[in-house]
Symmetry: C2
Subunit: 512 residues, 2 copies
């Protein structure tokens, strides 16, 4: 008898999953109960870290901010003002690394959704920083304020991410200098979890800190003691960091808020073609800038970010979710663990469509992120086309992946009753457990309830329109958006945010 | 700067991947370099095994073969001939379990493709035992001899599976009593790796052993000393094994060939609704039949199979690749490890289409299978609709998953040259590595080359027809089939197989 003969006999008609509501209770804080998968031997780990220190000492980083260079100079680094090159010894780096916290908490407005970063905690974040959006009804188009808020609302209703932001999608219908204000207001209005602010430039970062302080009814000092906001930022690999990035980083550190430093080390493009070389460069750049955050403010929360992947060597197109990406993620988190700082990775793909490729590339990068013990998993809902598009349908597919993983990470526990010896003995050989009291007492909550998966048989599925997962996802995000309920927001906070925005819009427009 | 701005700048046009050849070098023997992910605490593991022993002792299995019951009786079990119920003490089970090998090798005709089962080795097998086939050009239809051989050829050309068979798809155009002969001949003609024979009934199993002996130019005694063929078979859960299954199992064991024993324990249907209960039942049934194989022939190679998954409790439809499936797979392999026998799992899904759902369910079950240290991963190429369909397009999607994992499992190694400190120092800050001598010396073989993934930018992809991964997969399997080259087969073996088939067809038709 084949595996499927019995299965076939069990199949019956069932209602369409998309016809039910899609809003879910938010995911709880997730912890990974298993040891991380580690791919570097101890000697390999040490050689990469040693290599990173040597790069910082001998090659240096081009630090394109006089203010940042001044921090490095005061800390004892060798600074060439003409080239901007900063060479910094390992003792200096190690001394500053030592003040960066291994774990910390960012406050959410909803006290049940504080963001714990470090240790065994796993956090999922949404697609971020993309110029375009796509859904099957309205097609591919530039991001705008409407799509930004729709995506924030869908994410809030689905409850599958642990933070939102920074930019999510670029609202191109708003003036560039004002966008960060509107994005931050959307974060505060549409959800109640931790958000990231735009991290490019002092103005955007500082406005983010100020708006977070208003949301939390905190002074800036209080906010520094109990941080709430973050930026997720890059370096200009190889070995360069532009002034605007440095300003954002220094602003966040000054105010004790969280900075995620992610070198952009695509193997063969902005980094060596070898995994070891790219990781060495990633580690060097991140270490240099992490040290800077601690020079600015000892103890400022900081996360080492990894984005190392390969490119298609015939075209230069970036690839994600590849075996190389998996290796880089597992190794990157291992390096961060050795350095004592939390790690950020991503669940990403380079597919042009919400299809099997988008799904397997995302699934590969997601398991690597989780099993590496990455603490922040960015772009984990909605990312498509290597980060050129936020896809509404992909959000739904990813929600299933993330909620599935959340269920998988739950510790197994069972009682004697779960062991079910009596129940088994009460069912005759060749019988079934459908009507067993043991089943009836448990069946309603026995299993994970998927949001997207369709388990009907072929005939019923075909007769209902033969909708594949991507087509069903359209119905689900639409229902989710319809069912969205905004989170509570104190009227005084909302008013103060509006007043702050009016004031800042006036100031920014006057200054430009 | 967002992650994608640099990435966007790197994108250029590239040719369509499907236009290139799809045949690949076969995957080598794969070993998993990492510790298995274990979800059961030691006390939980012990309680499940203790529960399984209690079930065998107190509840027993209904063994619907007088010959099998006689084996149990001679071994000291309590046998009720009227009900067929066999209750067997743990000492008897343990004594027989002890003679089952923890690892062994099945011979392939191609000596480079021997199948190593046990230890850290990971093996992938194709979809098996399904009644229907589907491809996008010819639609959904019953399996037949043509589709069977096409699938065997595609698998051989892609080189992504480590064994083939047993039934793959049912060739419904052939008379039932003769099908096994034609399936086995197709295995021998279309490929040169280890194959499984149909395991239902003495006739099919014995003909499989005989044809394997012909393929290997071995006597049956030689074949028993160096086994080459296997069956992948089920029990009739709960606690029943039909006569035909027992005959197949005993026949294989008598001849020293490999038996995979897989209870069909869907939680809430043929097994308790709880994970612990279903695993206890799975373990009890498998242990009882593994003991039988050793009663028949000490040392006969045997594999404990797990197929525990959940069902949709509203409809009874089986589900695969769910969080429950992941838990059952991780726990099942852990139990088999504790018992000292190899483990078989599956990479499966319940999707009606080759879409995101089919891919994430398969990806979930595949990572669980690999990280649990399952030794045989069945149904890992082409399975769809919960095992009602073998999909040509899904074979291509799965090939990418399997080849990706094979690459991921490769040990990381790097030289000082790979560390690339000199190369990094020779590229100025903000520069790139495209033209670096370090890159040029390595780029051709630096990265895994996908078979299906399309990394072109949206515009180029759209202008080339906007083909999603499933559409591209059609082109790939067609090219793969065109490019198929049969493996060498000694003319004398081919003749002897034909003669054997003629003789057996006559005998079978005369007897029926």
């Amino acid at each position: 008898m084949s595996d499927i003969e019995n299965a076939r006999a069990r199949r019956r008609e069932r209602p369409d999953r998309a016809s039910r509501g899609a809003s879910r209770k938010p995911l709880p804080r997730l912890t990974n109960p298993w040891a991380p998968v580690e791919i570097l031997r101890k000697d390999q780990l040490e050689r990469i870290i040693e290599g990173a220190f040597r790069l910082l000492e001998e090659a240096g980083l081009e630090i394109r901010s006089a203010e940042a260079r001044a921090h490095f100079r005061r800390a004892g680094a060798l600074v060439d003002e003409e080239s901007g090159l900063v060479r910094v010894g390992r003792d200096i780096v190690r001394a500053h690394l030592a003040t960066a916290p291994a774990q910390f908490v960012l406050r959410a407005r909803n006290a049940e959704r504080h963001l714990h970063i470090g240790g065994d905690v796993v956090n999922f974040g949404p697609v971020n920083g993309v110029p375009n959006v796509h859904d099957r009804e309205r097609g591919r188009r530039f991001g705008d304020h409407q799509s930004l808020t729709e995506i924030l609302k869908i994410n809030h209703a689905l409850g599958h991410v642990h933070w939102q932001g920074g930019v999510v999608v670029e609202p191109v219908d708003l003036p560039v200098p004002l966008r960060h204000l509107h994005i931050n207001r959307a974060h505060i209005a549409c959800s109640d979890i931790v958000w990231a602010t735009r991290g490019v430039g002092r103005v955007a970062a500082l406005d983010g800190v100020m708006m977070s302080a208003i949301e939390h009814r905190s002074t800036l000092d209080d906010l520094a003691r109990a941080p709430a906001v973050m930026i997720v930022t890059n370096t200009n690999s190889p070995r360069r960091v532009d002034e605007e990035l440095l300003e954002g980083i220094m602003t966040m550190a000054e105010h004790g808020q969280c900075t995620g430093i992610t070198p952009f080390t695509l193997m063969g493009a902005m980094a060596p073609v070898t995994l070891a070389g790219a990781l060495t460069l990633q580690t060097a750049e991140a270490l240099g800038i992490i040290a800077l955050t601690q020079m600015v403010r000892r103890g400022a929360p900081v996360v080492l970010g990894g984005f190392t992947s390969n490119v298609d060597m015939r075209t230069g197109s970036p690839a994600f979710g590849t075996p190389e990406y998996v290796h880089a993620t597992l190794a990157g988190a291992q390096i961060a663990r050795a350095l004592g700082v939390p790690y950020r990775s991503s669940a990403v793909n380079a597919s042009p469509a919400v299809d099997a490729q988008a799904t397997y590339e995302t699934a590969f990068s997601l398991w690597a992120s989780i099993m590496s013990h990455s603490h922040l998993i960015n772009h984990a809902a909605g990312w498509l086309e290597g980060g050129l598009v936020a896809s509404y349908e992909k959000i739904i597919v990813d929600c299933e992946l993330l909620r599935g993983w959340a269920e998988i990470l739950k510790p197994i526990d069972f009682s004697d009753d779960d062991l079910a010896l009596d129940a088994i003995m009460n069912v005759p050989p060749g019988g079934h457990f459908f009507g067993s009291p043991h089943t009836i007492a448990r069946y309603e909550k026995a299993f994970y309830e998927p949001i997207l998966s369709d388990w009907r048989n072929f005939e019923n599925w075909r007769d209902a329109g033969a909708k594949d997962a991507t087509m069903r996802a359209t119905e689900i995000w639409k229902k989710t958006l319809e069912s969205y309920v905004p989170p509570p927001l104190d009227a005084a906070v909302a008013e103060e945010i509006e007043a702050f925005m009016q004031k800042r819009e006036g100031e920014i427009l006057a200054a430009s």
